[in-house]
Symmetry: C4
Subunit: 195 residues, 4 copies
């Protein structure tokens, strides 16, 4: 019961975050191709953030799947993750509207790093209370290498943003695509858990 | 469990999309009939898109009904559909605010086409993993003819938009009404599935 | 299953409608009591509409409670109700921002009438498919008198709005309060249905 | 069933409230550190309100956990709580945009007091219908002392806001942190209820 409501609330918040971002794509007053094309950076930012939030939703889903008892620590780590994700529409909009200006890309990368850190805290809070062996959690832990590469990418993307912001955005894009590719171990563990 | 959360998340996103569109109907500062009537194109666009998103919700519902195991492919096809639907408030607002200007109607039709394509990918992703015979899916597949007519309508509506935008909107309206009429086969299969 | 998703979707849409209305209370730039008090008509409109949407949510809940099979007719009547409710943030905002100007109050009353009509269609669509006797539905039908009084109030409120808009708003307020008072028969039927 | 829908609706509304607050952090047009730092008061207000709404969500969750029959009284007390929470994005935005000006902080404290009062009404409405002994409710009632301290803090924070607004905000922050620390008794009762 407890867990169902935590999932429902998180789903609600994530669904709203992913959808209100589109409100930052301000409708142009002219009906010209030029006006539409001027939105390209805003649109690219939106696509990237949609992808990123979608990935967090999927991973969140897997993490919560392994939970038995919802502890206060899990609730607060989850709130921390939702909070950092709630800043994504802001950092996305700022980056898009300012055509990937240095500082805005750096902040966007910081936001990603912050989200990743909160997801890490959530994972640890869940691990703390896993009494029995759990194949799904084991599979999630095997993605550690991928997590560390991602953190490294963000840590590089932040300073790079001040010199080559486009490279920085590309790096974040690569890390997103990396997570969008489903992990075989996690999938197998999920399949088994369902059976 | 898995499927429930996918449905809940999709429901959340679709519910938000269908509702935030109303925010694009900007409240006029004057309390006159003239100011109200000036919103007619925005309102018509809203009605059309509300109908369209409602239809997608219904069809999405039927499609997901046939799913047993949620695969990564299904998740990503579903995300693609939600992404393309999330652009509807933007294309609707642009079209309405610019009184069905040529380019805006064309983009609106492209958005419809894109949503239809994503729904098609979702259907295929689901079909890939249907091991047993499924009456509901069979009924859905029988709507193929309707799907092809719809695609044809959109493909015609895009170029037509540049010459007779109103005709183009009317065509999209017709295709929406076509889908709003419930399909006897799908209904029967749903009834049977419930029993 | 079917019904659960219809409820979930409706809950989502109603929750969003009731919450985005607050976005119409534009934050004043001055931190003065005068700026705050200038929002009084907007705030009163918000309170009234919050109450009204909350009542619809409760009644919707009761109506859906009696449903066994979700038919296409029920889905579309429900969509019609959600559509008319989705216009409430707009009509509320227009009325509030224009300090209960004649036309805006009339439109607000029309919106109420429209919502009532859609709820009536939904009730009929549900009645069509009730095969067995249903205590809850019987109790709901006993509220017919209240429904007719409400419709009469709205029908009076529309023309009155053009002469005494404040009286019109007061009438709508009275009808809302009338519905906010729980109906003994419905409550008893709900209690019994749960046991 | 009844209760599930009340929870789902409340979760939806709270999820939207907590998320649309971020829309009040207006995206600056310049990509400078100065423009970003100018948002500090808005950001601090957001963090405080996010924390506060998150706490209400958790406590709401616990309260509802003890409910057996959803009575009209519970529904309306719950609506009252949701209504007062729905004003938080407004009072938060006003306070943030005006850099913690006296009046805005006072109103923010009033909003907190109002939410607390509604939560108190909800608790009483639930207590009215608890027939059997309930460990969780007993644990919740043991937090009475904390509730009274909180009310006292708000009552002090309102007048203090007119002289030292920052002290007032700090007081509210302290009360939030006080509630964010999980209550041992409530946790134990929840654990036992689950077993």
């Amino acid at each position: 019961m407890n867990k169902t409501r935590l999932e429902a609330f998180s789903d609600g918040v994530i669904a709203i975050i992913i959808t209100i971002m589109v409100l930052e794509i301000k409708i142009p007053h002219e009906a010209t191709m030029q006006a539409l094309l001027a939105l390209t950076p805003v649109f690219i930012s939106y696509v990237l953030s949609f992808l990123m939030v979608a990935i967090y939703w999927g991973n969140h889903h897997h993490l919560l799947h392994t939970v038995r008892h919802v502890t206060p620590k899990i609730i607060w780590a989850n709130m921390g993750l939702l909070f950092s994700l709630s800043l994504v529409p802001f950092t996305t909009g700022w980056m898009g509207e300012n055509h990937f200006a240095e500082l805005t890309v750096a902040l966007y990368a910081v936001n990603h790093l912050f989200c990743g850190f909160m997801a890490f805290l959530l994972q640890n809070a869940i691990l703390d209370h896993l009494t029995e062996k759990n194949k799904l959690m084991e599979a999630i832990l095997k993605t550690k290498k991928k997590s560390m590469i991602t953190v490294a990418i963000y840590l590089v993307a932040i300073p790079v943003a001040f010199y080559y912001p486009v490279v920085s955005v590309a790096l974040i894009g690569v890390s997103a695509v990396m997570w969008a590719i489903p992990d075989k171990n996690v999938e197998r563990a999920l399949m088994e858990a369902e059976e």
